[in-house]
């Protein structure tokens, strides 16, 4: 199984990812989350602008998907906390997101995500979060350096 197949299977398997219509592209082990625009994603119909909660949800899923690619887990990573900064209103066009894994420990991963639309240099939102991991080998030997050793 390649990471590409895994990623497609992941997005197909998560009902909520299908509900918002999330897709992804993969270059090496670097994933870009893609959220094609759809009417039901609007929060403010006047401007119109994407729902703020949805942008957060998209970035959270991007973080979980990227973690699953780089650090294969026995179970899906669980969100412990997230902090979202909203920088611009989300226009009714496609949105993209990329996650940067800042640290993977034995139990917790720290991830940062940025979402953008027309230009990556003008992000519309940023997320910082901690995720609880369930490694494949729960009974790792004490000398194992946490999740880092399994990095593919």
């Amino acid at each position: 199984m390649t990471a590409r197949n895994d990623l497609g299977a992941f997005l197909e398997r998560v009902p909520y990812a299908r509900f918002i219509g999330m897709k992804a592209t993969l270059h090496g082990d670097e994933m870009t989350g893609v959220l094609p625009f759809a009417e039901h994603l609007i929060g403010n119909p006047s401007l119109p602008a994407l729902h703020g909660g949805l942008i957060g949800a998209f970035m959270e899923l991007t973080a979980i998907a990227q973690l699953s690619i780089v650090e294969p887990q026995a179970k899906l990573p669980r969100t412990v906390d997230i902090s979202i900064d909203y920088l611009r209103s989300g226009r009714p066009v496609d949105t993209f997101a990329r996650a940067l894994i800042k640290r993977v420990g034995r139990r917790i991963a720290n991830v940062q995500v940025e979402a953008w639309q027309e230009a990556r240099g003008n992000p519309i939102a940023a997320l910082r979060g901690h995720f609880l991991l369930t490694p494949m080998e729960q009974d790792v030997t004490p000398s194992s350096p946490g999740g880092i050793g399994r990095r593919g």
Binding site: I20, P48, H51
Partner: protein
């Protein structure tokens, strides 16, 4: 413009809220919004637990409603900052409710705390702390976001 629907009425102003099946349970003053459990909102198919993103969207929406209820005039509201702690997974099969309290409004920003729960508010699924921008449309008329995005105000090179 933010319109507040009466209790018991599905939220209709926002397509995202409508798609999630949000219902206003009560308020103002005590704002409670509910999302009935649905299979297509699940985040982990192995457990049937509702997606974190659904809880995030519910907390964001309920918080904005609490801000709208606190204001004397209808105005546009946009999330500036939202921090969420997930205490435990929601129980599969149960509806998710959220309650929010806007404890401070300044000229430009409103501050809110919110809780999400399935059965008992004293055993929450998640908690949120948010800041919301008031009059976020700021003179931009209806359809302003349909225009191409403005370039950022970076100085052009000479």
């Amino acid at each position: 413009m933010t319109k507040v629907e009466p209790p018991g009425v599905p939220v209709t102003t926002s397509p995202m809220a409508r798609a999630l099946g949000m219902v206003n349970v009560s308020g103002p003053p005590d704002i409670v919004v509910r999302i009935p459990y649905r299979d297509d909102l699940v985040g982990d198919p192995d457990t049937g637990v509702i997606a974190g993103g659904v809880v995030t969207t519910l907390l964001d929406h309920t918080s904005a409603r609490a801000v709208a209820a606190k204001l004397t005039e209808a105005t546009s509201i946009a999330t500036l900052d939202l921090r969420i702690d997930y205490m435990r997974p929601a129980k599969p099969g149960l509806d998710i409710c959220a309650t929010a309290y806007c404890y401070k409004v300044t000229r430009s920003v409103a501050f809110v705390r919110a809780l999400a729960y399935d059965v008992d508010p004293s055993d929450p699924v998640a908690s949120a702390q948010g800041a919301f921008m008031l009059d976020s449309n700021a003179g931009r008329g209806a359809g302003a976001n349909l225009q191409p995005a403005k370039r950022s105000r970076r100085k052009a090179l000479p």
